[in-house]
């Protein structure tokens, strides 16, 4: 039985580890400025935890086989433990776990402590059951007022957001069902939700943040590759949660300016 346990535990360990190392399923290719740092830290964590995982499972398998009851009268070691060892592994795990954590703090700080740069492109993202809407402030650089009483979700677009057309600042606001952003510019995302909590998740951008009703959460990311990327909702928001997705189109600055100018022209 000891040998069977050894074989099974080792096999499970090696097969599980194989798929991680072979990267059969892995993080999607990153396309934002933050991706490299985050992925690097993921890999560091993965290597350290992988070593702990393999070492502990291999040791477990080996020990249960090695110290099986062989039926002879061999004495067991009558030991109640070893204080030195306890201290050694307490200190080592503390250094490993806390140290690992501290090395990632600068990435977290740049993602979450620092506000968006002054010249960033502002996009307001609003989640509602079960769609995302994107609003650009227009040439005046100001988002116009919205009013919950004016909301008409079924009408879509501006009406879905409840845009108050009486507010002069709202006249030039552009509302889109697709998020279009220029490459290599910082994007300031202002996250809102109308009804329940949603979560704005763009896997390739290494971006995720809940959109919470009652809060306007300011976040930022910088796309570095042009292309279309899927936006998902990552927080359970009701029966249509699985289909609450959208697209972010990362385009060249010229294409972005052209797109935005055309949408603004429609408003005049």
């Amino acid at each position: 039985m000891g040998l069977v346990l050894l074989v099974v535990i080792w096999l499970i360990t090696f097969i599980s580890t194989y798929f991680f190392i072979a990267k059969t399923w892995w993080l999607p290719v990153g396309a934002s400025a933050a991706a490299a740092g985050i992925d690097q830290h993921f890999t560091t964590t993965f290597i350290l935890m992988g070593i702990v995982f393999v070492a502990a499972q291999v040791a477990l398998g080996y020990l249960v086989w090695s110290f099986r009851d062989r039926g002879n009268a061999a004495k067991v070691s009558y030991s109640h433990g070893n204080t030195t060892l306890e201290i050694v592994w307490t200190v080592l795990t503390t250094i490993l776990f806390v140290g690992l954590n501290l090395t990632s703090s600068s990435i977290w700080a740049s993602e979450r402590f620092r506000p968006a740069a002054a010249d960033s492109v502002q996009v307001e993202v609003t989640g509602m059951q079960f769609a995302w809407y994107f609003r650009y402030p227009g040439p005046d650089g100001k988002f116009g007022a919205t009013n919950p009483e004016l909301e008409d979700a079924s009408a879509g677009g501006e009406a879905a957001l409840g845009l108050d057309t009486k507010d002069p600042a709202s006249k030039d606001d552009v509302v889109s069902g697709v998020m279009v952003v220029p490459v290599n510019r910082e994007i300031e995302v202002i996250l809102r939700a109308h009804d329940v909590i949603h979560s704005f998740f763009i896997p390739q951008m290494r971006f995720k943040q809940d959109a919470v009703p009652g809060l306007a959460i300011h976040m930022h990311f910088t796309p570095t590759q042009t292309g279309d990327y899927e936006i998902l909702c990552a927080e359970l928001c009701g029966l249509g949660h699985y289909k609450m997705h959208g697209i972010v189109k990362v385009v060249t600055p010229e294409e972005f300016d052209k797109w935005l100018a055309a949408r603004e022209a429609e408003k005049l």
Partner: protein
């Protein structure tokens, strides 16, 4: 803490005697008082156990339906018909809720804790037998109300076991958020009341009812685990109860604790000014300690069994006790790691992250000590030991994915993906279930006077152990690839199509693993009536439950009160007449 070591012994002794006399009660006659409204902690323990057994098969059946729907989303099922997206979310919600409350909290603590804590400390019963009976029947009522949620108009809620507001706080947010959601909250509130009564009883019993000589530092690690679990329960369930009452008020009385000014489908709800994050803070202030409520008893039991079946003292008894206490203490300071992406201040995320990595330290200490315990032992591979070894393996596997999720930088990608269910199922889900299985195989002879069938037990182990890994390890891959949790279909998002084969594999693995659980069910009931007669101490173990008759008499020790002279893990003692010295045997030389 009353008792302690050395000096506390006299106090413990006199407290114990008066407590025992105050709570003595005669053996009941008649079926109702003996088996239904029983005051006997052993019967109540069995009642909790069988409640959890019903609940675990309900919960498992729901997960089976989820797995079927995920890979065949359009398939109609016999009797149940189509599974709609909202039905899928109902399954998710009820699977999680039933498993966490009525299985993982109920069986290890209410079941085995009730049955064996008093016996292991040499007490004739719990400190408050009537309260004990009430706590079980309260829990039972909670279960009935929970199941009733399936059968009301609109069905059971779809807001997940975490019930995030405003989804859970406003009736118009989806089907199931009407009466079904009210029943869900009421059920949990009832459960909390039962759990609070149980926690008081466990704490009082451990402090006041220990036999002469059973100092705190001679308590088996199972008792330590149940004791600390009870303290966690006392502090956590009160908060959840209050949070639940506020949620009910938001839903039905027009208050706005959790709901700001929102519109659902363009309609104003009449709420304003509340905070959705308040619910999350209150919920996780309960929810994270709850993880330890589920797994601490299993950790205590694994320690116990590794020592018994390796025929060796536990490695580092004191370190194990301190680790349990440290986990219990730190467990209350890490709830924010569930909320890194919630909109909570990113500075607090940093603090919660450090504390969470810190809680990995006592967990690692326990793992080292488990390996240290089997090192140099003479291992007997009886079925309880197989599940204890399986527990250690799962604890390690589920544990090492913790530091990924504990770091907010990595949580950006992994939060609310399949990486999370992969992680928590391995550790607080199935590792705890392995604790329940190990406890069943280990204590069955004492509870029913018969042995369980060993070859069925082994088959059950292999199905469960390999099956668990086959189901939950691939979920980590899904999570890394960006598959969000709680998606009823994978057809809407382009890149999720590529992950369907992996989901299929998981579903097939679940079929086989679930089939393997039927072996356990058959073994359990077959052995109750047909199993080989058990002797009083079949595992040659040292703790007090093995000194008494099988099954134990009404007052546990048949009129005499045991006196304890030794620690709980004296195996392979040099110079002793046999390879173990029981706790009630004459005192051996102090160990080195």
């Amino acid at each position: 803490m009353a008792g302690g070591t050395g000096g506390g012994e006299t106090i413990t002794m006199s407290t114990h005697e008066s407590a025992v006399q105050a709570h003595a009660h005669a053996a009941p006659q008649g079926f109702i008082r003996k088996w239904v409204f029983s005051l006997d902690h052993k019967v109540i323990g069995l009642q909790y156990y069988f409640l959890a057994l019903v609940a675990v098969f309900v919960g498992m059946f729901l997960s089976l339906l989820m797995r079927i729907h995920l890979i065949w989303p359009t398939a109609a099922l016999p009797l149940l018909g189509d599974i709609k997206p909202e039905t899928y979310l109902t399954l998710v919600t009820m699977h999680g809720t039933i498993m966490v409350f009525f299985v993982l909290t109920t069986a290890p603590q209410g079941g085995f804790g009730n049955y064996f804590l008093p016996i292991q400390i040499g007490a004739p019963d719990m400190a408050f037998p009537v309260l004990n009976m009430l706590s079980f029947w309260t829990t039972f009522l909670g279960f009935i109300v929970m199941i009733a949620a399936f059968f009301v108009a609109g069905g059971a809620p779809l807001h997940g076991w975490t019930g995030y507001a405003p989804l859970s706080a406003v009736q118009s947010t989806g089907p199931g958020e009407g009466l079904g959601a009210d029943l869900w909250i009421i059920s949990i509130a009832i459960f909390c009341i039962g759990a609070l009564m149980g926690a008081l009883n466990f704490i009082t019993t451990t402090l006041d009812m220990r036999a002469k000589g059973m100092t705190m530092m001679r308590m088996p690690l199972t008792v330590w685990a149940w004791f600390v679990t009870a303290i966690l329960g006392l502090l956590a369930f009160g908060v959840l109860l209050s949070a639940g009452i506020l949620l009910l008020m938001d839903r039905n009385l027009g208050t706005s604790f959790y709901v700001p000014l929102i519109t659902v489908n363009g309609q104003l709800t009449g709420h304003k000014g509340g905070s959705p994050l308040l619910w999350q803070h209150l919920f996780w202030f309960f929810g994270h300690p709850e993880v330890y409520i589920a797994i601490l008893p299993a950790m205590g039991l694994a320690s116990q069994l590794l020592s018994v079946f390796s025929r060796k003292p536990i490695f580092g008894y004191k370190a194990m006790v301190y680790a349990i206490l440290a986990i219990g203490f730190l467990g209350f300071m890490v709830w924010g790691h569930h909320m890194f992406m919630s909109g909570m201040s990113p500075y607090t995320a940093f603090a919660f992250s450090i504390m969470t990595m810190g809680i990995g330290v006592p967990s690692a200490i326990k793992t080292f000590n488990w390996l240290g315990t089997i090192w140099g032992g003479r291992i007997r591979f009886d079925s309880p030991m197989l599940f204890a070894i399986g527990f250690v393996s799962l604890f390690v596997s589920g544990g090492i994915s913790g530091p990924f999720l504990a770091q907010p930088v990595l949580d950006i990608q992994l939060h609310d993906t399949y990486f999370v269910p992969g992680h928590f199922h391995l550790i607080m889900g199935v590792a705890s279930i392995f604790g329940i299985f190990a406890a069943t195989y280990y204590w069955f002879p004492k509870m029913f006077g018969r042995m369980m069938n060993e070859s069925m037990a082994r088959w059950h182990f292999w199905f469960s152990f390999i099956g668990t890994y086959a189901i939950f390890m691939p979920m980590h891959y899904l999570g890394m690839a960006g598959m969000p949790r709680r998606y009823s279909q994978m057809t809407e998002v382009g890149y999720l199509h590529d992950l369907i084969p992996l989901q299929k594999f998981i579903t097939y693995a679940a079929f086989v693993t679930i089939a393997g659980q039927l072996i356990f069910l058959v073994n359990l009931f077959w052995s109750m009536f047909k199993g080989k007669k058990a002797v009083d101490n079949p595992w040659e173990a040292t703790t007090l439950e093995w000194t008494t008759a099988t099954p134990p008499p009404h007052d546990n020790f048949g009129g005499h009160t045991p006196v304890v002279h030794n620690g709980p893990y004296e195996y392979g003692v040099p110079g002793a007449p046999r390879d173990y010295v029981m706790q009630s045997d004459p005192e051996i030389e102090p160990a080195h």
